[in-house]
Amino acid sequence: MNFQLSKEQEFTRKMVREFATNEVEPLAADIDKEHRFPEETVAKMANYGMLGIPFPTEYGGMGGDHISYAITVEELSRVCASTGVVCSAHTSLCCWPIFNWGNEEQRKKYLPDLLSGKKLGAFGLTEPNAGTDASGQQTRAEKVGDKWVLNGAKVFITNGGYAEVFVVMAMTDKSKGNHGISAFIVEKSDKGFSIGKTEDKMGICASSTTELIFQDCVIPEDRLLGNVGDGFKVAMSTLDGGRIGIASQALGIAQGAFDVTVDYMKSRKQFGKKLSQMQALQFQMADLKTKIEAARLLVYRAAFMKDQHENYSEAAAMAKLFAAETAMEVTTKCVQYHGGYGYTKDYPVERMMRDAKITEIYEGTSEAQRMVIAAHTFKK
């Protein structure tokens, strides 16, 4: 056992903390209010290498590890969960499947621009009628000559409006169920592909969540990712990793809310005493701090297992389940400890509470995480 972060991991935290404090936090309330995707911040993140951390340098990656990546998403989300998820969805849901499932040509073609952040990536699985039950895919891909023709629609696609490369699941043989799904790389400029409506959400308002629409979208043969019929495996393995990203986001939200509340409690006086001097509240905060730390250990362990090429599917599900529920509990209580002020937009905790909710839903709801964990428990 060794719980010591490496120098690289420590300095990743230091770097991202400074970046987040100076570049992200000052915008967080405004972009939330304006529902504005922070393009300028994403460009800076790209410039500093934050969009290609856990990939080898030969493809233009930073040569980092998944714990450092988790720390990056955590630290960004500590001040702005919308900014955090830009990094998470791009890295885990688009770069990773291309790196892991792509052939050498695909890796060489797509990864340099994605990892340098020149292009942003997104992932399309969810459909109006295929959420947790991903097998109900209605988007179809048909082989016509040496091309694939896609038809259908995807919903709730993170980074949708700003991504240029999409990893998309489509049914190639309905009779085979899950084994009839295949994965494709779609480019923004592909004919017949368009971005549909942008969702108006409760939280992570600055994140771009859109529909993807395929109307006789024709793409070359070599856009197939993996083999025909591998799509479900591509999607599930991608989501396993994505959960580490979202768990990190949840962890960051919880820590951010906790930190601002500690400051608030040190300054707010009631009944002649600072809130921080009231034992009932001290104990509550002690409990929250403990849960956040427990979430952190789960998240980093899942990332560690991924770095060690161990099977991290269950660990990632546990990390996401616990971190997301912790984020929801911490933010809800932090709003409470702020009293009336916490309910106003003058303080960041209400935003954090709205943002926290999505972590229990996307990239597998908490119920889906329990399904994964239960399956690992009872499958033997």
């Binding site: 990743t12 970046f19 934050m50």
Partner: protein, 268 residues
């Protein structure tokens, strides 16, 4: 031949985080983070901007301090410096500014033997723990280099031979031209330092540690004993006694009380 820039940097406690224990009157240094000194960060940024623009520029950061100061050099290299050099030895511990400049001088001489002639030395104006602003000029003196302190604007000619700077003054600035090699001390108005970048954090890093023997420094010129200045006593400042809180039903009443109070103290 590479254009060698030396950046002098110091790891310092973040003085914003230092608190005084009200009971004992002593400094609480526990948990105070060590950071790259602010002005030194501006010096490094200047060097990195030159490196960004011109080929064959090598930026080396030199520091003196305990082994933990390697962390600060890690940070400098992760921002883009080519190497970090730490002079670390108990024999140089406790040095005042004169003795420190002797050690850095020896370090730079060793550098020149290993890596070639130094073309530009950049330092921060002062370190936030000591605020002395002395080591930069003292290093310049050792090498007989021209110096410009308080640099708030910087330009270098394309042949890297002529530097034009604005030197901050209390009521304006001086436009100064100086030839390289020279020593400049930088202030925060000069630039906005970059962050570390992920490539730098995860890439190969050249961090060298030299002890007193490596730099062949005269041990009679470094360390506590050799320092011309010594600390005679140190203490925490006494807090001023608590004054009077003015109260009243309206702001106007309070303002009137203040006027009476100020008049009573014969200050108006």
């Amino acid at each position: 031949m590479a254009f060698n820039i030396i950046v002098c940097a110091k790891q310092v406690p973040d003085t914003n985080e230092i608190r005084i224990n009200p009971e004992t009157g002593t400094l609480i240094r526990d948990g105070v983070p060590s950071i790259l000194n602010n002005d030194d960060n501006n010096a490094l940024e200047t060097a990195l901007e030159i490196k960004d623009k011109y080929d064959d520029v090598v930026v080396s950061v030199i520091s003196m301090g305990p082994p933990q100061a390697q962390d600060m050099l890690f940070e400098c290299v992760a921002k883009g410096a080519d190497r970090g050099i730490l002079i670390s030895d108990r024999a140089v511990g406790g040095s005042d500014t004169w003795a420190t400049s002797n050690a850095i001088e020896a370090g730079i001489k060793k550098f020149e033997k290993e890596f070639g002639k130094v073309n530009l030395i950049l330092a921060g104006r002062q370190a936030i723990d000591g605020d002395t602003a002395q080591v930069g000029p003292q290093i310049a003196e050792k090498f007989g280099l021209p110096q410009v302190t308080y640099v708030e604007e910087f330009k270098i000619s394309d042949d890297l031979k002529t530097v034009n700077v604005h030197r901050q003054m209390e009521d304006g600035y001086e436009e100064i031209e100086v030839k390289t090699p020279c020593m400049l001390t930088c202030i925060k108005e000069l630039n906005d330092p970059r962050y570390m970048n992920m490539k730098g954090i995860f890439g190969e890093k050249e961090i060298i540690i030299w002890n007193a023997k490596d730099i062949e420094v005269d041990l009679n010129k470094v360390g506590l004993e050799a320092s011309p200045t010594n600390v005679f006593r140190s203490f925490t400042p006494a807090p001023k006694g608590k004054g009077e809180i003015l109260e009243g039903d309206t702001e106007n009443q309070i303002a009137q009380k203040l006027m009476i109070g100020l008049k009573g103290k014969h200050v108006i």
